[in-house]
């Protein structure tokens, strides 16, 4: 499953991060590394981007980029 498909209000554990070089590097730097727990909070009024909660802060990213992040759902 990818972060894009995870669904609002759901949490997941990051499995791997893909995408083009600069994007991928940025996602990793912002703390989306394997085993990190992320929670999808909401999507913007026009459906894109989404905002997620991880490592005690909130990050906004686009759906196309969220589709590059593989996660497994965690039931909290």
């Amino acid at each position: 499953m990818t972060l894009k498909e995870l669904g609002i209000g759901k949490s997941g554990r990051v499995v791997s991060v893909g995408g083009e070089k600069a994007l991928r590097r940025r996602l990793l730097e912002m703390g989306i590394t394997p085993r990190t727990i992320v929670t999808v909070r909401k999507s913007a009024p026009m459906g894109d981007p989404i905002d997620i909660y991880l490592r005690s802060y909130v990050l906004a990213l686009r759906l196309e980029d969220a589709a590059q992040i593989a996660v497994e759902e965690v039931v909290t």
């Binding site: 994007l23 590097r25 912002m30 999507s43 906004a60």
Partner: protein, 667 residues
Amino acid sequence: MIIALAGNQNSGKTTLFNQLTGSNQHVGNFPGVTVEQKIGALISYSDVSIVDLPGIYSLSPYTSEEIVTRDYLVKQRPDAILNIVDATNIERSLYLTLQLIELQIPMVLALNMMDEVYANNGSIDSFALSNSLGIPAVPISAAKKQGLDELAETVLNAATKKTPPQRIDFCSGAVHRAIHAISHTIEDHADLCGLPARFAATKLVEGDELMLAALGLSDNERHMIDHIVSEMETEMDTDRESAMADMRYQFIEEACKISVVKPHKSKEYLLSAKIDSVLTHKIFAIPAFLAIMVVMFTLTFGGIGAALSRLMLIGVDALIEIVGNALVLNGYNQVVCSLIVDGILSGVGAVVSFLPIIVTLFFFMSILEDMGYMARVAFIMDKPLKSIGLSGRSFVPMLIGFGCTVPAIMSARTIPSEKDRKMTILLTPFMSCSAKIPIYSIFCAAFFSKMQGLAMGCLYIIGIVLAVLAGTAMKKVAFKGMPGPFVMELPNYRFPSPKSVLLLLWDKAKDFLHRAFTVIFLATIIIWFLQSFDSRFNYVVDSSNSILAGIGKNLAYFFTPLGLFDWRIATSLITGFTAKETILSTLGVLSGVSAAELPNALAGMFTPLSAFSFLVFVLLYTPCAATVATVKREYGSWTGAAFTMGFQTGFAWFAAMLAYQIGSIFV
């Protein structure tokens, strides 16, 4: 002594900078880029300068902010780095810290917002954290001025004693071995370039192309490095970038386990989430945004700003009258009077009367930015701007462009990526500014009286559509392949710091006045000169004999394909460069009619079709002198400003020509 202030965006870096330096700051640009550089003297230590570096999350080579910071730290080697981190968000903040430590420059960690950590029953053992990282760590609250004396003392101490960070090894296992091996291989090259070997080696493990190029390695050495890295990747069963990021975060998590007690979710976070449940709500978000913008625009262009602007104008007019009378009474000749009154005072006066509007607008803008609302606007409005290669961050500057292009371009500075900033600056002049409204309304009343509203609406839409086209073209040509992922932190809402807001206003006002009295001053004098003298440099009373009119007559050929045959039109467009409102007054003066008779006079100069072509040209052609000066300031060079002028004028000429030629087929 130089101290570099580094940290993430939203870490409170600006607040700390303002607290440490007071109002004793000056702003410039880093050479060659539109990245701002602020320098200030440490309070009560006039020989200690603090350099405020851009807010960044990493030292990777992807954005100009990161490259500028890296180059600055490596080449200028400041005496110490003061790294500020948001203690409520410490894991991600320390990611940059670990990279800064590798530079082996004396360094101190400022743990900001500790008051919030304590208030939420959290704690950070700064002593234990300092031990793990090998650099001193000082808990502070920049907003509440807590711990700042101790911080200053610690930084000065580190800088004087030149104590480098005590630890550089944050990795274990395969990554550690790879860094170590590469570090040995490149040591000599790194020394030659004045780079810390350790930092260079880590960057090579990460696959950093800039670093690879800078070191000037032989093919043999490159192969060796590739071999070391691929061995590491095989052993770890992952790729180089993921391996490094993972390793750093693992170290950070371990260090935090020992020293940090994290509150579950802070009060500030919960409050922010509540506010967000309205301000980024699926249905309410856009109405709320529009309401906030309407209030801001009404107060700026209709209320406070406009009232102050009128007062300013009354003051300027009074001054003009007093000075004019005084000059005449003292028997100065006509030319000197005209230069001072018509040239300098009216020209600069017209521009200075914008000042209250700019200051009022920035007052609201900086409050919204400091509170964290601008990041939400970017979040809400990202989708429509994504298609032209921009992000939601460009929305507000472009919106302000409908009021006045000058503050719009100045506000583009808050956009975090340089590529987006440059594109926003180029596209904002397409948003029709309010100075063009009088021109539109007189022309629409004179030529399109049955559909005035529609005609005006059309002009605004033409501007927006052409901006989209130009943006799409730029994305494909000029800014091709420049990465700019939209991955943005949404910070907790905070109360804005009055000191930061006031300093920003002071800064913007100073900046604008400086420009008014240099570039704009010069531009008005040149236009006045051209308008007041003939080609034999004799002073003329009737400006239709002036050099300017001569230029207008020659330029009329250039405007023929646009259906604008009359030399008076070309002349008015030239004077429009000082301020767009001047176009109408020039047309009036050259036709020898008063403002009330102008619509009738226009009917003799234009057909409805050429009037439309004229309006399209006015909508798009070179922005006014104040805007060009602002573009120059933001780009840090005349190239960008000249490009904007040429690009806009060329675009305007083609659009108006097409409008006229296609229109002629039907009319």
